[in-house]
């Protein structure tokens, strides 16, 4: 993701109307190809119309294809989806191959995905099939058989050593060091 995408509207991929659960319905309901009959910038689109458009229409009978010639205007594809969204693709100087690739994208999309930053490339409504964590989820099974009140479990987890214990520890350390010193001197 580059910096320019930061302020784009963000979203997740979505399937409108449970499409594909029962049967798949192509979400592109109609497409309008607008082009000029003699301007050079429409040449690729005109080539596409001459050579490939009939096949496209045959393969996708669920999509209505309209052609709209208009003089000296930019070539444009307008896609209309079942969810009511429209998408413009400016085809200025496109080759016929580019046009067919764009049409293929429009055909397989579920809506206008322009200006949307996908937060993730996948989405699920049920992130966990285990359910939420609870304080009892990973509890030790041995605790099920314990009788309460239990002396062992009632002890504090950590008791700080008392001053006397600390002193004794220091004294023992000193003795140990002395012993080592004496041993070294003897050698």
């Amino acid at each position: 993701m580059s910096n320019s995408h930061l302020f784009m509207k963000s979203g997740f991929i979505k399937t409108p109307g449970q499409n594909g659960v029962g049967r798949y319905i192509c979400q592109l309901q109609r497409v309008v190809l607008k082009f000029c009959k003699n301007n050079g910038s429409s040449r690729g689109l005109r080539d596409f119309i001459e050579k490939e458009l009939v096949d496209f229409a045959k393969d996708n009978p669920g999509t209505v294809v309209y052609l709209k010639p208009r003089r000296h205007r930019a070539p444009v594809i307008i896609a209309e989806y079942l969810n009511g969204e429209r998408q413009y693709v400016n085809c200025h100087n496109y080759t016929s191959e580019e046009v067919s690739k764009w049409l293929n994208l429009l055909r397989t999309q579920a809506g206008n995905n322009d200006n949307i930053r996908l937060r993730k490339l996948w989405h699920t409504d049920h992130p966990s099939i285990q359910g939420p964590w609870t304080p009892y989820t990973f509890r030790e099974p041995a605790l099920n058989l314990v009788d309460f009140p239990n002396e062992e479990l009632s002890k504090p987890l950590y008791v700080e050593p008392s001053a006397t214990e600390k002193l004794l520890e220091i004294f023992k350390e000193q003795q140990r060091n002395l012993n080592i010193l004496e041993k070294n001197q003897r050698e």
């Binding site: 449970q18 049967r23 319905i25 009892y136």
Partner: protein
């Protein structure tokens, strides 16, 4: 300035007096443009955003092609005259008759037929798998106008409906869905129509939680009436953080030392309620595996 200097220079040189030359200023910045645009924008703002136009009013609109694409989109075979009738509402045919004196068949009969088919199919199909209470709940959820309108828009009915009102109302959309179902039954038979209902309408239940649709206020009471012969015993299985804001309790419902259901809650009563919900779900699931 320059001109004036020039003319004084000439008078000085030629020693004659020339009357001052009348000047017209030439401005290359057109000062009327910005105010005009501003005024136009102000008027546009005053009028407000343009009203949505029906798609059929566009130049690129071919109703025959739209109807052909509609049936192909769904992968169904319709008789064309029946489909056209199914899309024509009473309001539209009345308007036609008033304007041009042409009588067209409307879909009032088809709507009723479609609703009957949908109702009988849904109730029959749900009754095979779910208890009576749930049949009612699921049916009520699917038969609402919003749900039918939602489904109708997502098969592309919104633009091809023939009716007097625009934008198309939700009830009109829902009615059209029903009439389409009836048209399919006439065209391709009852089996196809039922498959259509299943694929388009019933599928909307996918991913829904039963308890989002079924509001059970007294789940424990319901469970008790369900299991009249059994003794249900709620037990507190776990608790922690009592008298804090993170208090949580886990209650299990037992019957004859068998766990029926288990649930959590921030109070014991809520935990008991969720445990009862869980128990009901487990019992029904065992009785009829969810498909």
């Amino acid at each position: 300035m320059y001109r004036q200097g020039f003319s004084t220079l000439i008078t000085q040189c030629l020693k004659i007096s020339i009357p001052a030359i009348q000047q017209t200023e030439r401005r290359y910045i057109k000062r009327w443009v910005a105010p005009t645009l501003r005024e136009l924008q102000r008027r546009r703002d005053k009028i407000g955003p343009p009203k949505p136009e029906p798609r059929s009013s566009y130049l690129e609109w071919n109703y025959d092609a739209e109807i052909f694409a509609f049936s192909k989109r769904l992968g169904e075979v319709f008789k064309e005259d029946v489909l056209r009738q199914a899309l024509t509402h009473r309001s539209y045919s009345l308007k036609q008759e008033e304007q041009d004196g042409i009588q067209t068949d409307d879909n009032s009969a088809l709507i009723e037929k479609g609703y009957n088919l949908i109702t009988s199919y849904l109730k029959e199909e749900f009754a095979k798998k779910y208890p009576d209470v749930l049949v009612g709940v699921l049916y009520d959820h699917l038969i609402t106008t919003e749900m039918l309108a939602h489904v109708a828009t997502h098969i592309g009915l919104k633009d091809i409906i023939l009716c007097a009102d625009f934008p198309v109302e939700a009830t009109t959309l829902a009615n059209t869905f029903a009439s389409i179902v009836a048209a399919l039954e006439i065209s391709s038979g009852k089996e196809r129509a039922e498959k259509f209902i299943n694929d388009i309408l019933v599928v909307q239940l996918n991913g829904k939680d039963v308890y989002d649709l079924w509001k059970l206020n007294d789940a424990f009471g319901y469970l008790k009436t369900m299991l009249k012969d059994k003794d249900i015993e709620p037990r507190l299985c776990n608790q922690s953080g009592a008298s804090t804001i993170l208090a949580n309790y886990q209650v299990g419902l037992y019957s004859n030392k068998q766990l029926l259901g288990i649930g959590f809650g921030e109070t014991i009563n809520i935990a008991k309620h969720t445990a009862a919900l869980d128990a009901i779900q487990r019992i029904y699931n065992k009785r009829s595996p969810l498909s």
